[in-house]
């Protein structure tokens, strides 16, 4: 019998604390892209609600909470994080396993928005990017998904293969912010 050991995308790279901000890897969970077929948006939303208790998020929004979250993931695409998708969803949407495809980290702490402002062009002000808001955008040179989880807490996702660059870029920005804040 072979023992095949699983590794997380950021293994050996995180956690990292500089100044008041910390980056940690989000423990791996099931991640499924849910892409509704033609005219199935409403039906999908109903099933999502009845099976997983989560409303389908509007563009730029995330719904649910830790353990079962639905994140808008681009044009007519939702990322379901946490639960194993109910089979009923497949009648209304293309489901694709993405559990291993993304490096998922959390940036927490006072100054987290300042760190992100060095890497992403999106408007991170409290009024514009509230808790539950999400964006597909760029992080330095990488395409990313950024979701605000709390007042000083963000979830950041980039392609798994870019985990090292992600950590490097975050680290550089965190050092700058820490140095500025003395």
């Amino acid at each position: 019998m072979v023992d095949i050991i699983a590794k997380t995308p950021c293994e050996g790279l995180l956690p990292l604390t500089i100044g008041t901000t910390t980056v940690t890897e989000v423990p791996p969970s099931m991640m499924t892209s849910v892409a509704p077929y033609k005219g199935c948006e409403k039906a999908l939303s109903t099933v999502l609600k009845s099976t997983h208790g989560i409303a389908a998020p509007a563009p730029g929004r995330a719904t649910g909470k830790e353990g079962a979250r639905a994140i808008w993931f681009g044009q007519r695409m939702i990322l379901l994080m946490g639960p194993v998708p109910d089979a009923a969803l497949a009648q209304h949407a293309a489901l694709t396993d993405q559990s291993d495809a993304w490096a998922v980290v959390r940036l927490d702490g006072a100054g987290a928005a300042e760190v992100l402002a060095r890497l992403t062009p999106i408007d991170l002000r409290d009024g514009a990017f509230k808790r539950g808001h999400t964006a597909r955008t760029e992080l330095q040179h990488m395409m990313a998904s950024i979701t605000r989880l709390g007042s000083n807490s963000y979830q950041i996702m980039v392609f798994r293969s870019m985990a090292e660059t992600l950590v490097h870029d975050l680290k550089t920005a965190m050092q700058s912010v820490a140095a500025r804040n003395g």
């Binding site: 019998m1 072979v2 023992d3 095949i4 050991i5 699983a6 590794k7 997380t8 995308p9 500089i18 791996p28 892209s33 892409a35 509704p36 077929y37 033609k38 007519r76 695409m77 949407a93 293309a94 489901l95 694709t96 396993d97 993405q98 559990s99 291993d100 495809a101 993304w102 402002a117 060095r118 992403t120 062009p121 999106i122 408007d123 991170l124 002000r125 009024g127 514009a128 330095q140 040179h141 990488m142 980039v158 392609f159 798994r160 293969s161 870019m162 985990a163 090292e164 660059t165 490097h168 870029d169 550089t172 920005a173 050092q175 700058s176 820490a178 140095a179 500025r180 003395g182």
Partner: protein, 976 residues
């Protein structure tokens, strides 16, 4: 020389610094310029072209003269303006453009030859012999003329870039900017107040008068404190807005303070991109000089700058100072100097009607027409109605009037308009969408007018943002007259400077006109006026006034050149922060990366990916040894190769098959579930875009594979096709490249290796060539594809990426136990060339399906992208270059990629070109080199001998043309 006074320096905090190796002392709050002045250092630079002694002229970022080099070695920064450089302990500055020293500069000889070196000199003199330009003239000129130099070493400092967003961006924190920010902030707007200086206040820090009963600087500090205490205002000092761009985006350069830069991990500068719904430009105005003979002598400064030095830094450029102006503001300089206890030797006012109450020698209706002294000003000659008179003086303060800082309003193509009352250009309304102008920048030259226009601008901005501003009244402040008499240059013998930074004189402009370069744009280019790093901040208006005079036109008819970003020089390191070295692009690592590195595999970059080139075994000293061994290993046993970098796209939906039929030349809707098919994809212009295999995983479920190089391009193409060309199709797709780690298991022993690993054994009946399906290894669910890029009996095993590292190690260990092992890109390339398989070396963008012998793959039964275009006669012409195989048969046994092909007896010249080689490899299987090439009418020329000629490497050999497939042409091994 330091004077008494309560400026903004801290006399209890001395700061040591050096200039050209001499140690000096200044105070906290000093700039390098004010500290040098305090130490009596008058000459700080040599001029660009004539190497004339130069001193500090201004007190701001418009400084043309006082450019110095800071720091040493890799950290050296040239062309730092001493006038904006904060003093810090240990600051080390050096003068520039002098040899051997600032005081004794040999190249000052240029000044003696000035009559030969005027504008247009280079164009006329260095015409011939032509070859001399690059080898002789240019190096000599480059050495003789110039500013500071870079270290030539890679940048050693950290720079940063950042983004900010706001409702209102206020550019400049003088009286107008402060009131704009205050008004809008009180209305509830989210405000960014950007200020170039180390503190807010603008001219209020430089002037002696009061606002609201308090000293201007004190009032400014109070307002700033109020703003800082509001939650909706962000004050960004040391931040120069450098450019206005589309969609309310502004570039800004922040130079962090010395204390902050000294901290570990701190950047030196930050380039900001600020997105603002509205912006107010309150950038103030820049005082302009008056041209007269030798007006560039050290000790001649702008009158407003002299007030700034006296009032803010408590320094003066001499014990004995004269003032020369054409407007009321010059009188304030005289008054402030008297207040500071300095002897004012003369107040020369070009206006005949001017009056003066001060107890100083006053010369109304007079002009300064010459300056004396070389390294320091000693005297001036004043022309009055009754003749000329020489006056001894250490320094001269000049005011030729003020130019509103319209620069940013020009950044999107608008030109400022002439205001005859102010004798200046002012911004035109609507120059930048969303941006309005306030204060001196729009011609409000009194403090009171600035405060009022600031309130008005803040109110307008708030209303635009849907907010209501509270009623605010402007505080009591100075509201004096300007009363300017135009005076640009004083006639007389000798060179009168217009552009101090590029050494352009009145004569140069007149010379341009004489040579018929009469338009302002031509004059600029002929004389280089305004083309120095300061972009002519001091000189543009003066120069075009002289041009207007010389051409007999008015200033409005002459027009003006405009300004481009950046407003101040910006280091490329700041704009590209984070992108230096490896930061240039993200690095993508496969799950087997660490294991490959541990085996000593050198990595090569494939797009953003890093892939192992080969895996050196003990005793191997050359890559070819490793490569040959790895090829033989795959041909005779089994090899393992990470192929995860190939693009994988998960495609689902009722119309998935139809969609694939449309993007691929061949048919996929007929593919059976559990089977894989090779597909060819064309661009709309009929050329090959990409190739790869696509597997049918279910009735409505396909998995497309792309090449590594074109993964992004194909994904984009699919999105385009679906969104724009056939939105009616119900199909959804997403990249799963990163989800699966995929490994090729190739070679005669591949199945036996897998059967030791998989939970369920596979055989030829269940898993024939091109089969695919699910397999498991314990808890791990995986996908297996029986496909081959080596021509061997081979599989690709795809596992969830989390298991990639472990599975790669396991596969390699099992392969090694069977006399196999890992193989890299080199061996992969050899294996596919032996089989005549193409990569993007072949399908490089100009190649059709016809060229690679796949014309029949364009199905006749259906339409597909590129089909019509591919059928154009020129794309199916028999004379086109077609894919062939080559082997060397001459004395030289090596083929080289990129070499061109010629008929055996033709000259190797362009018109005889028959084709070119795209890929080569030494085939250990055949024992000689193999090449893939495109050759005119190649398919009909198998067996023919052609000559390879590599002009670049100088290699020539004869080759025999043959079929691209050399190894196992029947394909028995792949099915075996």
């Amino acid at each position: 020389m330091r004077v008494e006074g309560t400026g903004l320096i801290d006399r209890s905090s001395p700061v040591g610094f050096s200039f050209d190796g001499h140690l000096y002392q200044g105070f906290a709050g000093d700039t390098l310029a004010s500290a040098l002045m305090a130490n009596g250092v008058g000459m700080v630079a040599r001029s660009f072209k004539y190497h004339r002694p130069r001193g500090v002229m201004t007190a701001g970022s418009e400084e043309p003269n006082a450019l110095v080099t800071l720091g040493l070695e890799a950290g050296q920064e040239p062309n730092v303006r001493a006038t904006t450089q904060e003093l810090f302990e240990g600051l080390m500055a050096r003068s520039q453009n002098r040899w051997p020293t600032l005081d004794w500069d040999l190249l000052a000889l240029n000044d003696l030859a000035a009559r030969f070196l005027g504008a247009g000199f280079y164009y006329k003199t260095f015409m011939w012999p032509r070859a001399f330009w690059e080898r002789l003239y240019e190096p000599v000129i480059r050495r003789a003329a110039g500013l500071g130099a870079l270290s030539g070493k890679p940048n050693a400092d950290k720079y940063e870039k950042a983004y900010a967003h706001c409702d209102l961006l206020v550019i400049g924190a003088g009286p107008a900017g402060l009131m704009t920010a205050l008004t809008a902030a009180r209305a509830g707007a989210d405000v960014i107040l950007a200020e170039e200086d180390t503190r807010a206040g603008g001219r209020l820090n430089a002037e002696s008068f009061e606002v609201d009963g308090a000293r201007g600087a004190v009032w400014a500090a109070e307002v700033t404190a109020e703003l800082a205490a509001m939650g909706n205002v962000r004050i960004m000092t040391r931040t120069t807005v450098t450019g206005a761009y589309d969609q309310g985006t502004y570039g800004a350069l922040e130079k962090l303070g010395p204390q902050m830069v000294a901290r570990a991990g701190a950047p030196r500068e930050c380039f900001w991109r600020i997105t603002a719904r509205r912006a107010v430009l309150a950038a103030g105005a820049i005082e302009r000089p008056i041209a007269f003979a030798n007006n560039d002598r050290p000790g001649i400064l702008m009158a407003g700058a002299v007030r700034a030095y006296a009032n803010r830094w408590n320094v003066v450029p001499g014990r004995n100072i004269a003032v020369f102006g054409n407007n009321d503001s010059a009188h304030r300089t005289a008054a402030d100097l008297i207040e500071a206890g300095v002897h004012v030797s003369a107040l020369i006012d070009a206006r005949h009607h001017a009056t003066c109450d001060l107890d100083i020698p006053f010369y109304p209706g007079a002009e300064v027409c010459n300056a004396h002294g070389r390294k320091a000003l000693e005297a001036i000659t004043v022309a009055t109605t009754s003749g000329t008179q020489k006056i001894r003086t250490d320094a001269l303060a000049i005011s030729g009037g003020w130019n509103p800082s319209v620069h940013l309003t020009c950044h999107m193509g608008a030109r400022p308009v002439w205001n005859a009352d102010l004798e200046a250009f002012v911004p035109v309304a609507g120059a930048i969408p969303g941006l309005s102008v306030a204060g001196a920048c729009q011609g409000d030259f009194s403090t009171r007018a600035c405060l009022e226009s600031g309130i008005a601008a803040g109110r307008r901005a708030a209303e635009d943002l849907g907010l209501t501003a509270p009623d605010m009244a402007a505080p009591m402040a100075e509201d004096s007259n300007y009363d300017i008499l135009p005076l640009w240059s004083v006639p007389g013998r000798g060179r009168a400077w217009l552009d101090f930074q590029n050494d352009v004189t009145v004569k140069d402009v007149q010379q341009a006109v004489a040579e018929n370069f009469r338009s302002v744009e031509h004059m600029k280019r002929y004389t280089t006026q305004g083309m120095a790093p300061d972009q002519g901040k001091n000189s543009n208006i003066g120069a075009l006034a002289v041009l207007a005079d010389a051409t007999g036109r008015g200033i409005p008819e002459t027009g003006t050149t405009t300004f481009r970003p950046p407003f101040v020089p910006v280091a490329i390191a700041a704009m590209g922060a984070g992108a230096q070295g490896a930061g240039f692009a993200p690095q993508r690592f496969t799950t087997s990366h660490k294991a490959s590195i541990q085996r000593g595999a050198p990595m090569i970059e494939a797009g953003l990916w890093y892939r192992p080139s080969y895996f050196p075994a003990p005793g191997e000293t050359h890559w070819r040894q490793s490569c040959d061994r790895e090829v033989a290993m795959v041909r005779n046993a089994v090899g393992i190769c990470d192929v995860s970098t190939l693009g994988k796209i998960d495609i689902q939906g009722p119309d998935a098959g139809k969609f694939l039929d449309f993007v691929y030349t061949n048919t996929f809707s007929t593919l059976k579930t559990g089977r894989t098919r090779y597909g060819l994809m064309l661009r709309e212009d009929g050329h090959v875009m990409d190739d790869g295999t696509t597997a049918r995983l279910g009735e409505q479920h396909y998995l497309m594979t792309t090449t590594t190089a074109a993964a992004g391009q194909v994904m984009r193409h699919l999105e385009f096709v679906h969104q724009c060309l056939c939105p009616q199709l119900d199909v959804r797709f997403i990249s799963v490249t990163e989800q699966w780690a995929q490994f090729a298991v190739a070679g005669p022993k591949s199945r036996s290796l897998l059967n030791g690993l998989l939970d369920q054994e596979i055989d030829d009946t269940g898993w024939p060539f091109m089969a695919c399906g699910e397999v498991s290894v314990g808890e791990m669910q995986a996908r297996l594809f029986r496909i081959s890029f080596s021509g061997e009996h081979a599989y690709e095993l795809a596992v969830p990426s989390r298991y990639g590292d472990a599975v790669f190690r396991e596969l390699v260990a099992r392969a090694e136990a069977m006399n196999g092992g890992p193989y890299g890109m080199e061996a992969l390339n050899v294996l596919r060339i032996e089989k005549g398989f193409i990569t993007h070396s072949e399908i490089h963008g100009r190649i059709t399906a016809f060229d690679i012998g796949m014309a029949r793959m364009i199905s006749a039964k259906k339409d597909c992208i590129g089909k019509a275009a591919a059928a154009r006669p020129g794309l199916v012409d028999e004379d086109r270059e077609q894919l062939v195989g080559l082997k060397p048969i001459g004395a030289v046994k090596e083929l080289t990629a990129g070499a061109h092909l010629f008929n055996r007896d033709d000259d190797a010249i362009r018109v005889n070109d028959q084709g070119y080689i795209t890929s080569v490899a030494f085939s250990p299987t055949c024992g000689h080199f193999l090449g893939l090439a495109f050759l005119k009418n190649g398919r009909a020329r198998h067996g023919e001998v052609v000559r390879m000629h590599d002009h670049l490497r100088g290699s020539v050999t004869l080759c025999e043309v043959h079929d691209p497939v050399v190894f196992d042409p029947e394909g028995g091994r792949v099915r075996g």
